[in-house]
């Protein structure tokens, strides 16, 4: 069902946890659908310096969370924002069709975290 890459990320998820003094936090999903993802980011000079996730969800949800943290670490915010669900799924060597909605969640959580960061810095800056 799942590719080896998915299983690797599920089994050895990268960047699990919560950044204590995060610059932005995004949480998406709900219990009804059985998926909740929280991504926290540390940003320095417009670059995502650190990123961590916590996920309640199926194997695909955990793997996509893990994969997206790897994909964006060290990227600028603009580069990170361009990462789509498709990119995540491709990086994982594909996902079963019924699982595509899980990869949506990961990109959405990242976007929410960046939006949160921007809101905070605007507040600070403006």
């Amino acid at each position: 069902m799942y590719s080896e890459k998915v299983m690797d990320h599920f089994q050895n998820p990268r960047n699990v946890g919560e950044i204590a003094d995060a610059d932005g936090v995004g949480e998406v999903g709900n219990l009804r659908c059985g998926d909740i993802m929280r991504i926290s980011i540390k940003v320095k000079d417009n670059v995502i310096e650190d990123i961590k996730f916590r996920t309640f969800g199926c194997g695909a949800a955990i793997a996509t969370s893990s994969m997206i943290t790897e994909l964006v670490k060290g990227k600028t915010l603009e580069e990170a924002e361009e990462i789509s669900n498709r990119h995540v799924a491709e990086a994982l060597g594909g996902l079963p069709p019924v699982k595509m909605h899980c990869s949506n969640l990961a990109a959405d959580a990242l976007k929410a975290a960046i939006a949160d960061y921007k809101k905070r810095t605007q507040q600070h800056g403006g």
Binding site: P13, G34, R54, F56, C58, V98
Partner: protein
């Protein structure tokens, strides 16, 4: 890697005796039972004998047994077949909220044809209340379909009592006994049912074969069209090897039922005790009226599929009522009907025991389980109220 299979409710290995009963029909005994000549007559005799053996095991008579392609077809035939046959008598069918989709969806499909379908609720243990059935029966009720025991949570329904209520009102009663043959006693006369479904692959028989008991005098309309097989009710050349395997499987399951029950209950309770000793792990289904091989728990703050996968990586095969295992977004309709909240329903785990299960298997699972749960909880954004 040590592999522990705890998914006997999903399917079972074909037992040696069953395989051996099938082999002749996949090699030299190949005739078509409808053929007039020797090659066919030889097989017809064997199929008739298999029918007798299945009948005897259920306390039915041979003319009351129809072979099908599995539990799903048996359920469909029973429900759609009686509904069509009795359409001029009435168009109201009653079922329960925890039925297998083969029964539930067959019932619901009748709505498109203008039937009314009442779906009885269940209590928090998954149990149907006979008073609810009594209240639901109307003038135009023609059929009640309630399963003998549930495949997900193992709850055993009071079928004898429910069937008696239907009978009192002159309404036919069907039960899906796919999960109960060999686990608890199944005697069609004692239960008092009119129709009863079973499936081969849940009782150490082959996949793709099942049977439907139809009490003498109950008339079904055809739901499939073709040859005159199975007294014209179920057309298509018989799955002879499957039938021979099924007969052996049913016979042995029933003969060994008591012994199996006693063995499994001990292991089951040990497993339940061990799993629920982990914080925030709760048993689903009825604590007593429960299949001997069924354990179903909800693991708070962890999603079911991730649990299955983690256990699978440790060599332990189990299943889940999680939405993510079914490819839908809604978790198990059974758990939801029992009133579980979404988190508990998504975090459910089913471990079902069978012939091959040993005390060492249970020990192994109990040694692996806490670590797996802890790891996933550490990964989860959900926290116990009061935690972090």
């Amino acid at each position: 890697m040590r592999r522990v299979y705890l998914d006997y409710a999903a399917t079972t290995p074909v037992r040696r005796e069953v395989f051996e009963a099938m082999v002749p029909y996949l090699t030299e005994k190949f005739g078509n039972p409808s053929s007039v000549h020797w090659f066919g007559r030889e097989i017809r005799k064997d199929v008739d004998e298999a029918r007798e053996r299945v009948a005897e095991a259920l306390n039915a008579s041979p003319q009351e047994i129809y072979f099908t392609s599995g539990g799903t077809e048996s359920d469909n035939m029973a429900i759609l077949g009686t509904a069509a046959a009795l359409r001029n008598k009435g168009r109201h069918v009653i079922t329960s909220a925890v039925e297998h989709h083969a029964a539930l969806d067959a019932c619901l499909s009748l709505e498109k044809q203008g039937y009314r379908v009442t779906v009885l609720p269940v209590d928090k243990y998954g149990m149907v209340d006979p008073a609810d059935l009594e209240a639901a029966i109307a003038e135009d009720t023609i059929l009640v379909s309630i399963m003998h025991a549930n495949n997900e949570v193992g709850t055993i329904q009071p079928i004898k009592e429910l069937a008696a209520i239907a009978r009192k009102h002159g309404v036919l009663f069907h039960t899906d006994a796919v999960q109960t043959i060999g686990a608890i006693p199944v005697d069609v006369r004692e239960l008092g049912v009119d129709l009863l479904s079973l499936s081969g692959h849940k009782i150490y028989g082959p996949k793709g074969i099942g049977a439907l008991y139809v009490r003498k005098g109950v008339r079904l309309s055809n739901i499939a069209f073709g040859g005159a097989q199975e007294r014209k009710l179920r057309p298509g050349t018989e799955n002879v090897a499957g039938i021979m395997g099924l007969a052996t499987a049913v016979e042995l399951a029933v003969a060994e039922q008591q012994e199996t029950y006693e063995k499994l209950v001990v292991l089951r309770d040990k497993l339940i005790d061990g799993l629920t000793a982990v914080p925030d792990v709760k048993l689903n289904g009825h604590p007593q009226q429960r299949l001997p091989g069924n354990v179903n728990v909800s693991v708070e703050r962890v999603e079911g599929e991730s649990l299955i996968l983690s256990l699978d990586m440790a060599g332990i095969a189990v299943s889940s009522g999680s939405a993510c295992t079914s490819g839908s977004l809604e978790p198990s309709h059974v758990l939801m009907a029992m009133g579980l909240d979404h988190q508990s329903a998504h975090g459910s785990l089913r471990l079902t025991l069978g012939k091959g299960t040993s005390a060492e298997d249970i020990d192994h699972v109990l040694s692996v389980f806490p670590g797996v749960v802890q790891r996933l909880r550490d990964m989860s954004p959900l926290r116990k109220s009061g935690e972090e």
